[in-house]
């Protein structure tokens, strides 16, 4: 199960990096319809942040930190997917669905659910 969790985090990381690449390409491609737009900058930043969160998933001993990373990641995935929808970037939306699956794998693969761990202290 721990392995399942690790693979989940890796899937989030891969999806985030791919989303970063797609968004950067959209920013630079005049045919994308969103080249040079502030909204495109926003998803570049959000996917970069998500990649960072993915690296930090499951790390650290502090349960608050781990919960913070998980909740932030989920909000990031949802927000980036919504922004991708509004930017007509279907690839980004698809990647965020993949990231969500990774997040779910990560959470379901953990031995001790983080919320329970937090409450049990």
């Amino acid at each position: 199960m721990e392995k399942f969790s690790t693979w989940g985090a890796r899937l989030v990381a891969v999806a985030a990096v791919a989303g970063l690449g797609v968004s950067a390409a959209n920013y630079l491609n005049p045919q994308s319809g969103i080249a040079g737009e502030p909204g495109t900058v926003l998803v570049i930043a959000s996917t970069a942040l998500l990649a960072l969160f993915a690296l930090l998933m499951g790390r650290g001993r502090d349960s608050f930190f781990r919960i913070f990373i998980l909740v932030s990641s989920l909000l990031n995935i949802a927000g980036t997917a919504f922004a991708g929808y509004l930017l007509h970037s279907t690839t980004l939306v698809a990647l965020m669905i993949a990231a969500l699956l990774g997040w779910l794998f990560h959470v379901s693969g953990r031995r001790t659910p983080p919320v329970t761990a937090s409450l049990s202290r």
Binding site: P30, Q31, S32, G33, I34, A35, G36, E37, P38, G39, T40, L42, A83, L86, L87, H88
Partner: protein, 644 residues
């Protein structure tokens, strides 16, 4: 359908009708033809197969500027300024002489191969690239003329014309791009030589001339809202070969011209070839928002006017707005169509307008085909102003915009903590034709329109007329001269302020947005509608395009402000760019349903063109952008065709 087209070509060739067919497969004028129908008889691309439309080719001209320092790849001639105004590119591509011709906002002509987009030749007018009259470098394309009996081996038997912002009209050989030196002596006619009254700025030739027989009909554009006394509206008829002046039309008499101005024709014109009539969309007089110094009727201002082509004499005129105080320029060429109605064929025209009315008139007489009613309208409260007591209203066809503004948009109001509703309550609002006021008037529709210069398109067989339009609310606030000048000298005069120098008031003209930049009025902000001109009935009316803010696309039901216009094809399709979202679209003529869309690099604020070359139908868009919609600009020309 390819086979059918080929069969028609063969039959036409056998019958000696090759020229006629070539005309139908061409797109040789700004509006497709001189009737301004924007109709293509081509039918290779159909509602059934339009989803297979793909990019046939893309070409970039290099003539683009977002404002300031041009990006890499921009065509920069030696000696040009290091910074440039932004570009607005609204050129209809012309397909004629087996070549695609385009004018650019740097006032160059491009001749392209129609099936590949490869450049055959270019011509540089070397025009001054400065915002002399308009805030942007602007161009709406080129015009084409050919000898009826061309002499083989002689140059300039076929010509292309381009105008410039500094009032020069250039004539070049359509095959080589070399100047036609018999035109004005050196290939150039300086239109400004006839700018002899209130010459505050040059007569900018942004709209290509209308060409008929051996005439070039030429209007001009000026600098809006700056001066009370401005160059008075004139239309010039020039000899297509020599550039010699044949006649001049004046929209204002001498006395009115001295204290007012404009009433010019800055949009395209249409021609009834059988009746030898030239139809002019005449704009509003100056100053645009205060008429206290022009209280005479000025019957030709904000009108549609028919002239005798040979003489320039007025055959009839119909004023669409009396004593215009809203800058409701008549802004597009009227579309000519013969209507079968009650067993009779009526030679009609349809004049679209910023005010949203569609005026269907008899083009012999100017009399309305559907009733036009004079209704009382609000009086002015501004000292020195006397608004017209009545204005013409059209009940049928139904106006594209309502008589009352759409009301406060709850989302914009909530997001701004009630700013929209508070502001609306503080403004003067008595419906259509509420005059500008000192406290601020809510104006709907305002100078954005309604319908812009793209006008509408018609299927001449069915009589179905299609028109895109905007729904925009603006605020007009007159500011007494002393207060205005004090604000200007203190440096607090910023965007939205226009001096109208020489009038007792300046004006603050703003679009009704909340502090976050959201429109305060209910969507949709832009739509497209179809009418049966035989009955006046509206067939459909659907939101069109999508607002794009910071890159984010807003819901389709909100629509988009549009600039540009539609083209109809014989197969029952409507092709149009025009929206702020950089998509170009194909709609079903029967329902308005979107059947296809393609992404281009900036809003395609130009009329598209459709042509056939080597058995293949193309639809081509100039994607140039317009700062009114979005800062995104481009120099891209894109042709679409069915994939193999």
């Amino acid at each position: 359908m390819v086979k059918l087209t080929g069969t028609i070509a063969l039959l036409a060739g056998l019958l000696g009708g090759g020229d006629a067919l070539a005309q139908t497969a061409d797109w040789s004028t700004f509006n497709g033809d001189l009737k301004a129908q924007k109709y293509s008889p081509l039918a290779q691309i159909t509602p059934e197969n339009v989803s297979r439309l793909t990019v046939a080719w893309r070409t970039h001209t290099g003539d683009v500027s977002p404002g300031g320092s041009p990006p890499s790849g921009t065509h920069m001639r030696s000696g040009a300024a290091s910074t440039l105004p932004p570009t607005v590119w609204s050129a209809t591509p012309l397909f004629v002489n087996d070549t695609l011709y385009l004018g650019t906002p740097f006032y160059r002509i491009f001749a392209l191969e129609p099936d590949t987009g490869k450049v055959k030749w270019t011509y540089d007018s070397n025009a001054v690239l400065e915002a002399l009259t308009q805030p942007d470098l602007k161009n709406r394309g080129v015009a084409y003329w050919g000898e009826e009996a061309p002499v083989a081996g002689q140059p300039c038997q076929k010509r292309v014309y381009i105008g410039t912002m500094d009032a020069k009209l250039h004539s070049v050989d359509a095959d080589t791009g070399k100047p036609c030196t018999d035109f004005g002596g050196s290939g150039v006619v300086d239109i400004n030589q006839w700018n002899d009254e209130n010459a505050k700025w040059p007569l900018s030739i942004l709209q290509p001339p209308t060409v008929f027989k051996d005439f070039l009909f030429l209007g001009w554009a000026g600098k809006d809202w700056a001066e009370a006394e401005a160059p008075p509206g004139t239309v010039f008829a020039l000899d297509a070969r020599t550039g010699a002046l044949r006649w001049t039309f004046h929209a204002l008499n001498a006395a009115d011209a001295a204290r007012s101005g404009t009433g010019n024709v800055w949009a395209s014109m249409s021609v009834d070839e059988e009746r030898n009539l030239l139809f002019l969309p005449v704009s509003s007089p100056s100053p645009n928002f205060f008429g206290g110094n022009r209280l005479d009727p000025l019957a030709l201002a904000t009108s549609v006017t028919a002239l005798d082509i040979a003489t320039g004499n007025i055959v009839w005129t119909r004023q669409l707005v009396h004593h215009d105080l809203w800058d409701l320029d008549t802004n597009s060429a009227p579309t000519l169509i013969d209507l079968e109605k009650d067993g009779k064929v009526i030679p009609a025209l349809v004049q679209t307008s910023k005010q949203g009315f569609l005026y269907v008139l008899n083009r012999d007489t100017g009399e309305p085909v559907y009733p036009i009613e004079e209704r009382p309208v609000p009086a002015s409260t501004v000292p020195g102003e006397v608004a017209a007591p009545t204005q013409p209203f059209v009940a049928l066809p139904k106006s594209v915009v309502e008589d009352k503004w759409p009301g406060v948009f709850w989302l914009a109001d909530a997001a701004s903590f009630g700013y929209c509703s508070r502001t609306a309550a503080s403004l003067r609002d008595e419906g259509r034709f509420t005059p500008p006021s000192l406290e601020g008037s809510l104006v709907y529709p305002g100078t954005i329109g309604g319908v812009e210069w793209g006008g509408g398109a018609v299927d001449p067989k069915s009589g179905i007329f299609v028109v895109n339009y905007s729904s925009a609310v603006q605020i007009y606030k007159l500011i007494p001269r002393a207060d205005y000048d004090a604000a200007a000298s203190a440096g607090s005069e910023t965007g939205g302020f226009f001096p109208m120098r020489g009038a007792p008031y300046g004006i603050q003209l703003t679009t009704f947005l909340n502090p976050l930049g959201m429109p305060c009025w209910n969507p949709p902000y832009g739509s497209i509608a179809a009418y049966d001109l035989k009955t006046g009935e509206q067939l459909w009316d659907v939101p069109f395009g999508q607002v794009q803010k910071y890159g984010f696309y807003m819901p389709p039901s909100w629509g988009s402000i549009t600039i540009g216009g539609p083209v109809i094809t014989a197969s029952g399709l409507v092709f149009i760019g025009a929206s702020m979202d950089s998509y170009v679209r194909a709609l079903d003529l029967k329902t308005g349903r979107e059947l296809w869309k393609g992404l281009v690099s900036a809003p395609a604020v130009a009329l598209p063109a459709s042509y056939e070359y080597k058995g293949k139908q193309y639809v081509v868009f100039a994607a140039g952008g317009n700062s009114i919609l979005t800062p995104r600009v481009s120099d891209e020309i894109v042709a679409f065709a069915l994939g193999n």
